[in-house]
């Protein structure tokens, strides 16, 4: 009655897969293997990480979380952010959708080995927690003179 559902796999889903691959390539996801501590894509909070020779920037999309209640710690090159988002459920109201994450969270990010755990700066604005970690001087490329 529905025909062979497997046929769907050829056209539409291939297209989705191709798109996902393109996006992954665009962001270099294929060249960076995923960390063993990584969580499934889409978990709360979402994370973006960028780096340049001077510093590593971690952005956590923690909308509606009081920054005072977040616990940020760094041990060597392991950055841990833990916290809780408490949503107030309206008593006596009819809920149609409850898509927003409610509860505690914890994310661990493996940083490059050359970061300096003493030079970390965290700021919170518009629901984004931005953690900037400086890299060590020694790790920066340097000119070697031949005697």
């Amino acid at each position: 009655m529905f025909g062979n559902l497997g046929n769907f796999d050829n056209s539409l889903f291939d297209e989705f897969r191709r798109m996902q691959r393109d996006i992954d390539q665009l962001f270099g996801a294929t060249s960076w293997p995923s960390s063993i501590r990584a969580v499934a894509r889409g978990s709360y909070p979402q994370v973006n990480i960028g780096s340049n020779p001077d510093q590593v920037d971690v952005y956590l999309f923690t909308a509606g979380v009081d920054p005072e209640t977040m616990d940020i710690s760094i041990q060597q090159n392991l950055l841990t952010v833990a916290g809780e988002r408490k949503l107030v459920t309206e008593e006596g109201a009819n809920y149609y959708r409850k898509e927003r994450y409610d509860g505690s969270f914890r994310r661990v990010v493996t940083l490059p080995d050359d970061v300096d755990p003493d030079k970390v700066d965290a700021s919170y604005r518009d629901g984004i927690l931005h953690i900037a970690i400086q890299r060590r001087e020694a790790a920066k490329p340097r000119q070697i003179e031949i005697k």
Partner: protein, 131 residues
């Protein structure tokens, strides 16, 4: 010859626009209704007040917000859960809702919308007379 070129450019523009639309993020929402109206909470981290655009007409509500993150120079993206700069979501409204009097507030990346009901549509308690 020129005409053909024109068409080709126009087509690629259309494709480009379609791709950009596909890449928008659908913000997670909580929606609930009480006697006086409907409340929407939407997670839109990174959106500031001046980059938020809420549009309503008689039967629809559309929310668009752009993420603004000041990035240092020559930054390479190492990992990205969020792969678009734009949130977009729209809802259709029903007739008893008053689209002209929506109140919006934004705090720590959470948008709250309050859509009131027209006065005549607020539920009235019907008393049962006992003789």
């Amino acid at each position: 010859m020129n005409d053909t070129k024109e068409v080709a450019t126009r087509e690629s523009n259309a494709v480009q626009q379609a791709k950009e639309q596909e890449r928008t993020i659908r913000p997670a929402v909580d929606i609930f209704e009480d006697d006086t109206g409907i409340t929407v909470h939407a997670d839109m981290p990174g959106v500031s007040k001046d980059r938020l655009n809420i549009q309503t007409d008689s039967d629809s509500l559309s929310i668009v917000g752009d993420i603004n993150i000041p990035m240092p120079e020559n930054m390479d993206a190492v990992y990205a859960d969020v792969r678009s700069n734009r949130y977009q979501r729209s809802f259709s409204l029903s007739r008893e809702l008053d689209g002209d009097n929506i109140e919006a507030s934004l705090k720590d990346g959470v948008l709250t919308l309050r859509i009131p009901k027209h006065e005549e549509h607020k539920p009235r308690k019907i008393e049962v007379r006992t003789d």
